[in-house]
Structures are given as C-alpha cells and as structure tokens.
Symmetry: C2
Subunit: 322 residues, 2 copies
Amino acid sequence: MANIKQVAKQAGVSVATVSRFLNNKDYVSQEAKAAIERAIKDLNYRPNQVARSLTTKQTNLIGLIVPDITNPFFPQLARAVEDTALALGYTVVLCNSDEQQEKELHYIAMLRQTYVAGFIVASNLISEQSYLDLNIPVVALDRSPESLLPNVSTNNFEAAKLGASYLIERGAKHLICLRGTVDVASSNERVDGFLAAMTEAVDYEILIGDYGFDNAYKLMTTYLQQGKPVDGIFTCSDYAALGVLKAVKEAGLRVPEDIQIVGYDGIQLGELVPPGLTTVAQPVYNLGEQATRMLVNKLEGKDNPDTRIVLEASLCVRGTTK
Amino acid sequence: MANIKQVAKQAGVSVATVSRFLNNKDYVSQEAKAAIERAIKDLNYRPNQVARSLTTKQTNLIGLIVPDITNPFFPQLARAVEDTALALGYTVVLCNSDEQQEKELHYIAMLRQTYVAGFIVASNLISEQSYLDLNIPVVALDRSPESLLPNVSTNNFEAAKLGASYLIERGAKHLICLRGTVDVASSNERVDGFLAAMTEAVDYEILIGDYGFDNAYKLMTTYLQQGKPVDGIFTCSDYAALGVLKAVKEAGLRVPEDIQIVGYDGIQLGELVPPGLTTVAQPVYNLGEQATRMLVNKLEGKDNPDTRIVLEASLCVRGTTK
C-alpha cells in the first residue's frame, strides 16, 4: 500500500502539506489540495486511521450504546443508525450494555481510549453528566426529550396517552399499566401519558417491571393468579407486551375478549405473534436516522439548530384489542 | 491520569523498560516486572490504547460480523460473545453486514485500520481467503465445520436430519425444505441432512429462500396458492419458520393439524409465537462462548489444539408438530 511520502512525491508537495490536508488543519492551497486528492486517488492511498487519530484525536467511529440487544426494538434501531452512518462515512460500533452499569462504563472508557468520534446513547443507566463530561459529541436516542443531552425521541407522553385512551375507547374498565424501571425517564413519561388518559369511569393499577419479556411474563402470571379484575393492559414496550400476552393466554384467558393489550414501540414482531399486537408504534427507522444525522452534523461542525427532535408515534391496531 | 513517566519513576526503571513491559516485547527482568505492575496498580495507570496500538499494532477490540441483526438468532449469539469477551478483557465491536458484501468489506477495512485484534465472523458473504489474507486471528462462527477458518459450529448435517426425521416420525408425507441462499455452506449442509432423513414413503421439494422472515413468508404464501399437497415444512432457520407459520395460518390452514413445521436455531422467540415452534435448537450461548474463547486463545498465543469445535443440536418439541 502507498504511504504518505509517496503521496507527497506524486503530488509535488511536502509530507507536512499532505499531513495538514489529511487532518484538515491549517492552510493548504487549492492547487495543493487538488494535487494531493489526485495522488491519493492514483495511488489508492488510505491513511492509517490509528496514526491519524493520534494527531486528530478523532476517528470516524460512532459508539452506539443500547441497553438490551435481545429486545427486538434495539436491533431495528441499530440497523437504522448503521445504514445512515455508513452512508455518511462513519462506522458504528455497537455496544450492548445489557442493562449493567459496569458494562456500559467499560465500553465508554474503551471507546474513549480509541478516540471514538461520538456516541449515540439509547441506554439509561449512566448519568447524563458522565456523558457531558466526555467532551465529545453525544446524542441521546429514545430517552426523554427533557434530557440534558441533544436528543431524538418520540413524544412519550402523547404516545402513551394515545394507547391508553384506545383501551378505554374499546371498552376496558379495569386497566393495568406495566411500566419500565423507575429510573428510566422515558418510562416515567409514558406512565404520565397513561395517567392522563384515565377517566372516572375506570380503575387502574401501575405495575413496575422493565422493558423485557421475562419480567413482564413473570409479573403478569403472578398478578393474574390473584384473581383481581383486569380487562385492559398497557405496557411501556412491545417486548414486555409479548410477555404479558403469553401470561394471559397461559392463564386460560382470551385476547382480546377477556383482556385487551396495547404495547409500545412498533417492533416487527408485534405483527407475527397472533392475534397481532395492537401498539403505539414509534417511527423506529426515522428515530435512528435522525439521531445519526444530528451526531454527524455535530461531528462535522455543521449548523445544527435542532438539538432536540421529537417525533410523533401512531396507533397500530391489530388483534389484541376489540 | 498517571502517565508512563510517572509509572517509570515510581517503579524505579526507565520509560523504555515500562514500554517494553507494556508491549510484551524483549526482555524485562522479574524484579522490574513486579515493580512496574505495582506502580501501575498504585497509580491506577491506564496505557493509551491508540498510542499502544501504533507500537503493538494491536488493540483489545474484537470485530464480530453478523449477517442480519434483525434475525433474533444473531443478537442472542452476539450477547454470548460480548459476555465472554468482556470477562476475558476484550471489547466487542458488533458489525451488521446486512447481507451486503460492500458493507462487510467496509467494516473489515475500517476495523483493520484501527488494528482490531481479531475477528469472529458469522456472516457468509466474503470469501474465506479474504479473511485468511488479513493475517490476524479470525474464527468462523455458525458457518460450516468444513470451513478453512478455525471455527465453531453446530453439526448442521446431523441437526437438520434430526429435525426432518421428526416430521416424518409424526406422520408428514409431503415435505418441503425451505433452505437458505445457495452460497451459504451451512445451508448446504442442512439440506444434505434433510435429504438424508427422506424415505421412500414420502415425497419432498426444496425451496430456495434465505434465513429471513420476509422471504419465507412471501415464498410460502405463493407456494400455498398453487394448492400442491404439503403437510410438513422444515426450514433452515427459526426466523424463516416464523414467516412460514404466518403464511400457513393466513392461508386458512391449521398448525399442526394440516401442516407441521420444524425450525432450526432455537431462538427464544420460538417459544412465544403460538402454538410454539418445534425446532432443532443450537446451543446458542455455548456457540458464542466457545468461538470467543478460541479467538482469545489465539490472540494470546495460548495452546489451542481445537481449531474446530462442533457442537450438537437438540430437538425442542413444541406446538407446531403433532
């Protein structure tokens, strides 16, 4: 492979000029630029990323941190981020924090040492201040629009209100909201949306779970054994809704005749599991794309007035509601 | 944070000695080693990864390339690789090739430039020779045991034979094998296993699809419209089996009464989708763990007689078979 000396020779400039060109630092004349670009192309020269990152303290790696890669929402989101990043010349390093703070901190430290250009954070464990302290661009994704970090999210409150209202509209009188863990801001907003939909004609209960399948299944199995009246369940994630659906069916109850269920997220899987999950669908691909564009704009110092993008969700009616 | 000079001072050795120690190069006396280790611990010194990788041409990053992150098999596999790698002191960079050769080549080039320590490759698009040419440790995962690369896989032939035999044992007479794309070696072996299970008492047809949901759904929908007799379907992935299940149900046929289905992989999701997917379950977590240990052993120059590990699959009987 060609090296920087050969590029300089071919372009008729000094190695220092090529180096300035590669690192976008200081002044390089238009003629020199054109000559270097030609030489790079002719020689098929690829600058060594590690050597460059020592000088520029920057790579074109984006760290994407997700809380649970086995929840199908996150692979769908990751794919949108990857697609967009690749088209913009960046490579995505996908890190699964597995909802473990230690793992997340390890990934951040590791990537920081390799001069990752920026982070997109879709997990909720580490304090936002820790990310701000990194002093590199960070965009929060699928967190709360109230986040201190620049962020892209769905309007959690309105979306959850939409889903819970639909359960009441379809006749549910005894509702449950299965929420995520209490330290997750997006989950707090979804619960607020659920509460805003409640009327005097219904009663409700809030159960604390997480966005995963297993806990939702266990919680609902235990709950149903108590024999309390329930005919409508709103969950704060689709993956949790599938756990609820399994528990309800195993309890010998019919969906939607006995119990109606509305999920949240819009994962592809919701369509697969009979009778089809009614859900508040986030614009998953758009979320990932917008977050990536926002981060890349920051990395490239482009004008970027939007440090907060809030997208709207839509109701997707399938078979778990009447 | 402490730097290398402080470590050298505290340890009472030269900076060059600390550098030799960090890079595992040349001779460092036992006393110096002990003093440096103590100093590193006392000062909480962490060597700069980028600077080190310029010298050692190595990082502790492992690139994991998967073909389709939206197929739930791969997130499950990735999680096992991540868990194991983290415990062994490595960080996993997850790359989704999205079954696009260009994307895969881009990831490889990018990671190679940042001196990734090694690759675990669970995709099938790039020729094995390309990986061998990288001259860094590479382990193939979930490919063919006949691979040129060191590899960890399930016994595809025996596993598929087990699944197809079970369909016949439960009374299927008109079988379909929905295989993956023809260039995927693991799929070829699974088809061979299917064929080995066929007897004179049955007829069969082989359909070429891929391991994804969408194609399986479309293929089977079209096939069923032709009205040919079919009462047993073996698919070469669970994700494809779910697509088949959807098509069969939409065609107004009952599972397992009219058509029995056996999948391949053992994804968690198979349990979720009623009536529960009968499948040939690969030991997913063990596959990921073994591949990671094999790669790390290679990276660390440890004795590693196993350049080929073949694990056995097991039949997991649920509701899609009688």
